[in-house]
């Protein structure tokens, strides 16, 4: 889909800087916090620039309403949901097709890292709420889920983090925001657990050559490595803010 770009909007300047002043490989300012809610067994807040996501983990537990549980491992239930006020136009609170897909994609990004074999016949609930959406909400959500799982003491193989790489005016850039997503040529959200070398979420919307794709994936993994480091600091100190520069 081609949406007409507003006049005067320059996505990459002649000096190679992005519309918000970042270099291609820069993250936006990142903020992470754990233990933000009292009721949840684990919780976290993650901000990538204006994108703001909270996560809560309940479990391992028995589900409220009986349903068939897995005999050999915990059942993961993941809900990615956007607050009605999180978007430019009010979003209906009923789950959209997009939210259904992203709930699945995020669940499948977490399944490989949760040691669910340790809790058969239980449920681990991971609830993700996007409070403000400015691009990269699904990858911020994976990061928040990773923190909340750790905060809840759910045993995991490794921390996982996410970031979206985009192609904007022909340039590959890390952690794209909504403007870059809307007027750019490609958006590639990636989540990975760098400590075990596993890519657990990979989507591409847009056109990339084989070489661009490999480069983009490389940039994503580098950024995720930094994000997971910030996760570790957050779990030690409860709270972290970082400029995002590498």
């Amino acid at each position: 889909m081609v949406v007409k770009r507003p006049e005067g909007l320059v996505l990459v300047s002649p000096e190679g800087l992005r519309h918000d002043g970042r270099r291609p490989e820069d993250l936006r300012p990142v903020k992470m916090e754990v233990g933000v809610f009292k009721n949840a067994d684990g919780s976290a807040l993650v901000e990538y620039g204006k994108t703001r996501v909270v996560a809560a983990v309940y479990g391992p537990r028995e589900p409220l309403q009986r349903f068939p549980l897995l005999p050999d491992k915990a059942t993961l239930r993941v809900r990615y949901h956007m607050a009605p006020f999180s978007t430019e136009e009010r979003k209906s609170p009923a789950p959209s097709r997009r939210e259904v897909e992203l709930s699945k994609v995020i669940r499948e990004a977490l399944e490989p890292i949760v040691l669910s074999e340790e809790y058969p016949r239980t449920v681990i609930d991971i609830f993700l709420e996007v409070l403000q959406a400015d691009g990269g909400t699904r990858t911020a959500a994976v990061t928040a889920a990773s923190l909340a799982l750790a905060d809840a003491g759910v045993p995991i193989r490794a921390l996982v983090g996410g970031v979206a790489v985009g192609k904007v005016d022909g340039v590959l850039v890390v952690d794209i925001d909504e403007t870059e997503d809307m007027y750019g040529e490609a958006d590639m959200p990636v989540a990975a657990a760098p400590d075990i070398g596993l890519i657990t979420l990979l989507q591409l919307n847009g056109v990339l050559s084989r070489e661009e794709f490999n480069r983009a994936l490389d940039m994503a993994l580098t950024a995720i490595t930094r994000i997971v480091e910030l996760e570790k600091r957050t779990l030690r100190s409860g709270y972290v803010e970082a400029g995002g520069e590498e």
Partner: protein, 279 residues
């Protein structure tokens, strides 16, 4: 269909007894007396993309309110008024007992009580929301988002709604020659006109005692609550008995009395949050 709730967080009788013993001495587990609300924290402007927003912490309860303002059509019988919509979501994040799905009767009741309390005093000046009479008006969506449920969602939600409305600015817009209204994204215009502020005060009956701003534990051993809305002049602008119990005439009278006192505390917290935002 409304069904007697299956799993109210059950508190053994003995807990209730020992709690009543405390009340007899005029104190509560968190050291409050019976008439005092928990610590209130109000932060506005927490969602930059919304026209107005607020996060309210009332003790450990957290409610966020976001206000979105769009161009819409007026209702047929009120062509000279904008539209106000209040919606509440109890997202499963907020409590081990909440489940995903459309709003249940509790969320609907909450939203409707907040809505009526605002509407009956024209707290949001609906007449000021007309763009073109009978055709185009502003629709003001107040979305209440319960993030952590630790008791008394009513008072926290009403504070959040009110603070978010006070934080709101109408979008700037242009009227094309075709008559179409084009909203200028990200450009904020005039503040939303608020005629009066409103708060609700919830009083729970536990045994024969009336306590203001019940915590989750207190709600568990109370079977009836009275939610009373006040405007700044101390007039009663709404009321809702909620919960499976009843009240005597005298209890209602006493509840109104203690609630009016507590309303002053809420109004003060609101006022202070505005000071901070302006500072």
């Amino acid at each position: 269909m409304s069904i007697s709730p299956y799993k109210p967080p059950i508190t053994p009788l003995i807990v209730k007894e020992s709690y009543l013993n405390m009340l007899r001495k005029g104190v509560r587990p968190d050291n409050r007396d019976l008439k005092t609300p928990r610590l209130i924290e109000i932060k506005t402007g927490v969602v930059e993309k919304a026209e107005g927003s607020a996060l309210v912490k009332l003790g450990d309860t957290q409610v966020m309110a976001g206000v979105k303002i769009d161009v819409g059509s007026p209702f047929k019988d009120t062509p000279d008024q904008g539209v106000l919509m209040v919606h509440a979501e109890f997202v499963p994040l907020a409590s081990p007992l909440f489940e995903p799905g459309p709003p249940d009767e509790n969320a609907i009741e909450l939203a409707r009580v907040v809505d009526r309390s605002l509407r009956e005093v024209n707290a949001v000046d609906l007449q000021s929301l007309v763009i073109r009479r009978g055709e185009k008006v502003w629709t003001v969506w107040v979305d209440l988002y319960v993030l952590d449920h630790n008791g008394n969602l009513y008072d926290a939600s009403m504070l959040a709604a009110m603070a978010a409305l006070l934080d709101s600015r109408l979008p700037d817009y242009e009227e094309l020659e075709t008559g179409e209204i084009v909203v200028k994204k990200g450009v904020k215009g005039d503040p939303l006109k608020i005629n009066t502020r409103v708060v609700t005060v919830t009083v729970a009956k536990i045994g024969d005692y009336l306590v203001v701003d019940p915590s989750l534990e207190e709600e568990a051993i109370s079977d009836v609550r009275l939610v009373i809305a006040f405007d700044e002049k101390g007039r009663i602008v709404g009321m809702q008995k909620t919960g499976a119990g009843g009240l005597s005439f005298d209890e209602v009278d006493r509840a109104v009395e203690v609630a009016r006192e507590a309303s002053v505390v809420y109004f003060k917290a609101l006022e202070e949050s505005l000071g901070r935002a302006g500072g």
